[in-house]
C-alpha cells in the first residue's frame, strides 16, 4: 500500500517535471525573435550565423531538437550559457546551495514563528490579540517582497549597521568565523521571506485550530480534567497541523519567486541572482535552466510534503 502510494506520487512528480520542461522548450522555440541575435551582433555574416545555429543545434527540425534536449537533460546537461561559454549546469550548481540555504531557513523560521502565533490567535479568538494578528497576517500577505527587503536593508543594514547589506559570506573568513559570517549575512534576506510567508501559515493555523477546538474529543479532554495548555497543544494542534502542511506545499511557488527577488536586492549569490544577471545579459539558456532547476526543486519538495502527509495521516494513503 505504502509503496503504491509513493509510486503514484513519484509518477505525478515526473509528469509535472516533464510538463515544465516541454512548456519551456516550446515557448522558447516558438516565440518570435532569433535566438542567435541574442548571442552575436546583428551585422554578422550569413556563414557565421549558420555556424552559430549549428553550434547550438538550432538548425535541426523541432522534434529532433526536442528529443536531443530531453536526452541531454536526463544526463543533467542544460546546455551552454550564451555569455559565459560554460555549461549552464556548472553556473547553476554553484548557486543552488545558497538558494537552498535561504529558502529552507526561511521555511523553518516561518513555521517556528507562525504556528505559535496561529495558536495564540485561535485560543484568544475574537479578542483584540486575535484581531491584531489577523490584520497583520492579511497585511503581511499583501507585501511586495522587494519593498520588505529594502526596508529591512535600510533600517538594520544602513541605519543601525547591525547586519551586512549584501553578499552571502565574508570571503576572508575561515572555519567557524566563516559559518558565523554566513549566518550573519543570512538574517536579513531570510527575514524578508519570513515576512511574506507568515500570513498564510498564521491564518490557516488559526482557522483550522478554531475548528479543531470545537470537536468532541477536545470537549472530552477538557471534561477529563486535562490541563488547558495540554488540551490545545497535545490534542487540538496535532490535528490542526495537517492542513498547515498543505499550505507549505502551496506556498512553495511563492517562496521561490520571493527568493528570486530577495536575492536580487541583497546580491545573495543564489539562483535568483543568477536569473537577475541573466536577464541583463539576455542569457536565455541560463534563464531556461534556472526555471527547470527551480521547478525540479519545487516538485521534489512537494513530493516530500505529500509523502510526509501520507505517513502522518493514514486517510490520505488509502483514499
Amino acid at each position: 500500500m505504502r509503496l503504491r502510494f509513493i509510486g503514484t506520487r513519484l509518477l505525478r512528480g515526473a509528469v509535472t517535471l516533464w510538463f515544465a520542461v516541454t512548456v519551456t522548450f516550446f515557448l522558447v522555440r516558438l516565440l518570435p525573435g532569433d535566438p542567435v541575435l541574442a548571442v552575436a551582433d546583428p551585422n554578422m555574416t550569413e556563414e557565421l550565423r549558420a555556424k552559430l545555429l549549428a553550434d547550438f543545434g538550432l538548425d535541426q527540425p523541432l522534434p529532433v531538437q526536442y528529443g536531443e534536449y530531453l536526452l541531454q537533460l536526463v544526463q543533467g546537461n542544460l546546455g551552454m550559457s550564451f555569455r559565459q561559454s560554460i555549461p549552464v549546469t556548472t553556473v547553476l550548481m554553484e548557486r543552488l546551495p545558497w538558494t537552498l540555504i535561504l529558502t529552507l531557513s526561511a521555511m523553518i523560521a516561518t513555521v517556528v514563528v507562525g504556528i505559535p502565533l496561529g495558536v495564540l490567535a485561535a485560543t484568544k479568538a475574537k479578542g483584540w490579540v486575535d484581531r491584531l494578528i489577523q490584520v497583520a497576517g492579511i497585511t503581511a500577505q499583501s507585501l511586495f517582497v522587494p519593498s520588505v527587503g529594502v526596508f529591512l536593508l535600510y533600517v538594520f543594514g544602513v541605519l543601525l549597521g547591525w547586519f551586512p547589506i549584501g553578499g552571502a559570506v565574508d570571503p576572508d573568513a575561515t572555519g567557524l568565523a566563516a559559518s558565523l559570517s554566513m549566518l550573519h549575512h543570512l538574517v536579513l534576506p531570510c527575514l524578508s521571506l519570513v515576512f511574506i510567508q507568515l500570513g498564510g501559515y498564521v491564518l490557516t493555523m488559526r482557522a483550522t485550530l478554531i475548528e479543531a477546538l470545537g470537536e468532541d474529543y477536545v470537549t472530552l479532554a477538557k471534561a477529563k480534567g486535562v490541563r488547558p495548555a495540554s488540551v490545545v497543544w497535545k490534542h487540538a494542534v496535532r490535528n490542526a497541523l495537517l492542513p498547515t502542511t498543505t499550505i507549505a506545499g502551496l506556498q512553495l511557488g511563492a517562496l521561490v519567486g520571493g527568493a528570486v527577488l530577495t536575492e536580487t536586492i541583497y546580491a545573495y549569490p543564489g539562483i535568483g541572482r543568477a536569473i537577475f544577471e541573466a536577464v541583463g545579459q539576455l542569457d536565455f539558456p541560463v534563464l531556461q535552466g534556472a526555471f527547470v532547476l527551480l521547478a525540479a526543486a519545487v516538485v521534489a519538495a512537494n513530493l516530500i510534503t505529500d509523502v510526509a502527509y501520507g505517513f502522518l495521516d493514514p486517510r490520505v494513503r488509502t483514499s
Binding site: V15, T16, F19, A20, V23, T24, L27, V28, L31, P32, G33, I138, T139, Q141, S142, L143, F144, V145, P146, S147, V150, F151, L153, Y154, G157, V158, I165, L252, G253, V256, G257, V260, L261, T264, I265, I275, F276, A278, V279, G280, L282, F284, L287, Q288, A290, F291, L294, A295, V298, V299, N302
Partner: protein, 283 residues
C-alpha cells in the same frame, strides 16, 4: 417594479450588507482614488523625463516625495506609475479571467475535456510562476503588451480552478439537464445557465487576480523586464536599485512600495468584505 418593497433581491441584500461594513467601503474608496489618480495622471503631474537640477533631495514642499539621483520628481513617477501598474494589472486580469472562465466552464461541462484540462490546471499551478514569466518576458522583449500577455498567460489557471469547481456543482443540477432535454445547444446552455452561476465567484476573483497581476508586474519590472519607456511602481524600484539609491535615498523606494501595499491591502480587504456580504449565513 411594484413588488420591490416586500422581499429585497439577493443582489440588493449583498449591497446593503456590504455598505454597512466600513472595511469594505474604505477599501473601495481607496481603490477608486487610485483609479482616479491613474486616469487623471496628466492633470496631477508632468511626465517625469530628462534631468533635473535638484538631485537626490529628500521630500520637501517643492517635491512632495523627494527627487531621485538624476533629479526627477518621485511624486510624478509614482503618479504615472499608478497609471501603468493599474492598466497592466487590470488588462492582464481581464485576459486571465476570460481564459480561466472558458477553460473552467469547458472542463466542467464537457466530460471528455475534464481530465486533460484538470491535469493541465493542476500542473500549471504546481510550477514556480515567476521564473517562467521572467523567461518568457525576456524572450519577447520588454513592453507593456508583453507584460500584460505574459502575466495573463500564467495567471489563468488559478481562475480556471475556482470556476471549474463552482461549475462542477452546477452541471448536475436539474435545470441544466432540462435545458439539454429541450434541445439547447452547448453554447446556449453555457451562456445562459452556467455563466450566471459562476459569475459571482469570478467577481471576487477579479479583484484578487488584479492585485496578483499588479504584484507580478512590479516583480518583473523590478528585475528590469518592464517597459523602458514608461513608469510603473516596479520600474521606479528597479531604477533605484540600478542607481544605488536603494539604500541611501529611502524616499525613492518608500513611496512606490507604499502605493503597492495600499492597492494590494485594499483589494484583499474588499474581497473579504464582499465574501462576507454575499455569504448570508455569517452575518
Amino acid at each position: 417594479m411594484t413588488l420591490t418593497a416586500a422581499e429585497p433581491t439577493p443582489r440588493r441584500r449583498t449591497w446593503e450588507a456590504f455598505r454597512r461594513n466600513p472595511l469594505g467601503t474604505g477599501s473601495a474608496a481607496v481603490l477608486i482614488l487610485l483609479i482616479l489618480v491613474a486616469v487623471c495622471a496628466p492633470l496631477i503631474a508632468p511626465f517625469p523625463e530628462g534631468y533635473g537640477t535638484d538631485t537626490s533631495q529628500p521630500p520637501s514642499g517643492a517635491h512632495w516625495f523627494g527627487t531621485d539621483d538624476i533629479g526627477q520628481d518621485v511624486f510624478a513617477q509614482v503618479v504615472w506609475g499608478t497609471r501603468v501598474s493599474i492598466m497592466v494589472g487590470v488588462s492582464a486580469s481581464i485576459l486571465a479571467i476570460v481564459i480561466g472562465l472558458l477553460v473552467g466552464v469547458a472542463a466542467a461541462y464537457f466530460r471528455r475535456l475534464d481530465t486533460p484540462l484538470g491535469v493541465l490546471i493542476d500542473l500549471s499551478l504546481s510550477l514556480p510562476v515567476l521564473p517562467l514569466m521572467i523567461l518568457v518576458a525576456a524572450l519577447a522583449g520588454p513592453s507593456v503588451r508583453t507584460l500584460v500577455v505574459v502575466i495573463a498567460l500564467f495567471s489563468w489557471p488559478e481562475v480556471a480552478r475556482v470556476v471549474r469547481s463552482q461549475a462542477l456543482a452546477i452541471v448536475p443540477l436539474p435545470y441544466v439537464s432540462a435545458a439539454r432535454v429541450v434541445g439547447g445547444s452547448a453554447t446556449w446552455i453555457i451562456r445562459k445557465h452556467l455563466f450566471p452561476g459562476v459569475i459571482p465567484v469570478v467577481g471576487v476573483s477579479v479583484v484578487l487576480t488584479t492585485s496578483r497581476a499588479v504584484l507580478a508586474e512590479a516583480g518583473l519590472s523590478f528585475l528590469g523586464l518592464g517597459d523602458p519607456n514608461s513608469w510603473s511602481w516596479g520600474a521606479i524600484l528597479h531604477k533605484a536599485q540600478m542607481s544605488g539609491s536603494l539604500a541611501s535615498a529611502w524616499w525613492t523606494t518608500l513611496f512606490p512600495s507604499f502605493a503597492i501595499l495600499l492597492l494590494v491591502v485594499a483589494t484583499t480587504l474588499l474581497s473579504v468584505a464582499y465574501n462576507d456580504a454575499r455569504n448570508h449565513r455569517t452575518r
